[in-house]
Symmetry: C2
């Protein structure tokens, strides 16, 4: 029920999944606190812009934008190290793509938990997707189950924060359908890993998004280069 | 054995415990990667200076200093919010002191793990102390045990990173004795939460340190105001 369950921190990258995740959070909580990170990723400025638009759309009670320059300095990913090429989509191989940023989602959840503890928010939402995704280890359900225990043990005894991953078991096309049913503003999102003006259409993230909209039978409002 | 077990990332605040932890790491690994965070804490500049001296002393192969401005923005602690007073020591109450920074050590460990994954380091050291300490929830052994599972699940399948907390079960006086036996450079460390020039002598952190040196029967090379 909207308005029934207090505050929540929502991790919002500015992509499709985080937009739908925010729409779910908006339907379940009264006050949303939007968290975003710049970490030297290639399309940082565009993602940030989408985050700000989404925060306005969902009437976020507050916003926190973190600069995680160290993730860029640490490197090890084609998203943050320009010497590593963003690979073309290979959705069937089961290999972890070059875009994997080591342990990235742990950074987002950790910041969200610190903020939630101070806000006395009872929930942290993150739009991680396990199935039908890129195979990042930090997108798996068991990772978040384990993280829940870290939260329970690493915060004050009176603190009760649940980590919620409402999309984790969904197919990407189901996420698109659910988002459409909740009126999620897809036109305010950015998914491409390579480009910030016109989505490349061929990177892993573009490929997953296009397949999802096609399977859902819903038009993607974003334009693609090819 | 020194030189026998590859690379390790060491979380180094610049305080007594992290100095002894680094001395242990130096005795067990060949290459140390020193990690430090500025997070808007009151004595940030002094701690940073100690970190740099310790990195030089221990011949760190590389250093990473992270700016976690968001921890300051999130606040909720007397260390990062100047409107909250640093409480005088109360070592017996069992209450969590105002200096607790919500979920702070999770931030340090998370960054250390990302770095370790890219470096292919097999260990992350952190000088957390459970017993005889301030009672922070993120200094407990079970917190690190839970975090180990998050690391195992949230990194690449081939990645093997152990989180090591060699001081966690030690009394503070034992840490001082162990440090002395390893030749840890206590004169390069800073513990005071309040002041950056002359240690106050009365905050929680000063009180714990003084008691530890007194119990160990070892002279503390640091001067105190009172």
């Amino acid at each position: 029920m909207p308005g029934s369950r207090g505050k929540a921190v929502v991790c919002v990258s500015g992509g499709l999944d985080s937009c739908v995740c925010a729409a779910i959070a908006a339907s379940e909580r009264d006050e949303l606190y939007f968290l975003h990170a710049d970490y030297g990723q290639r399309t940082q400025a565009r993602e940030r812009e989408c985050f700000e638009h989404l925060a306005r759309h969902f009437k976020a009670a507050d916003r926190l934008v973190c600069e995680l320059k160290h993730l860029g300095e640490i490197g090890g990913s084609s998203l943050t190290d320009k010497r590593i090429q963003v690979s073309e989509a290979d959705l069937e191989s089961g290999k972890i793509p070059t875009s994997y940023v080591p342990f990235r989602n742990a950074h987002f959840v950790t910041i969200a938990v610190s903020w939630a503890e101070v806000l006395e928010a009872k929930a942290v939402y993150i739009g991680a997707v396990e199935q039908d995704s890129s195979g990042y280890p930090d997108c798996r359900r068991e990772f978040y189950d384990a993280f829940q225990r870290v939260i329970d043990l690493g915060t004050r005894p009176a603190t009760r924060i649940k980590i919620l991953t409402p999309l984790i078991g969904m197919k990407k096309s189901e996420i698109v359908r659910l988002g459409a049913s909740l009126g999620a503003p897809f036109e305010l999102t950015w998914s491409c890993y390579k480009s910030s003006d016109l989505a490349c259409g061929t990177c892993d993230s573009c490929a997953l998004r296009r397949r999802a909209f096609a399977e859902a039978g819903i038009a993607d409002p974003i334009q693609y280069a090819v």
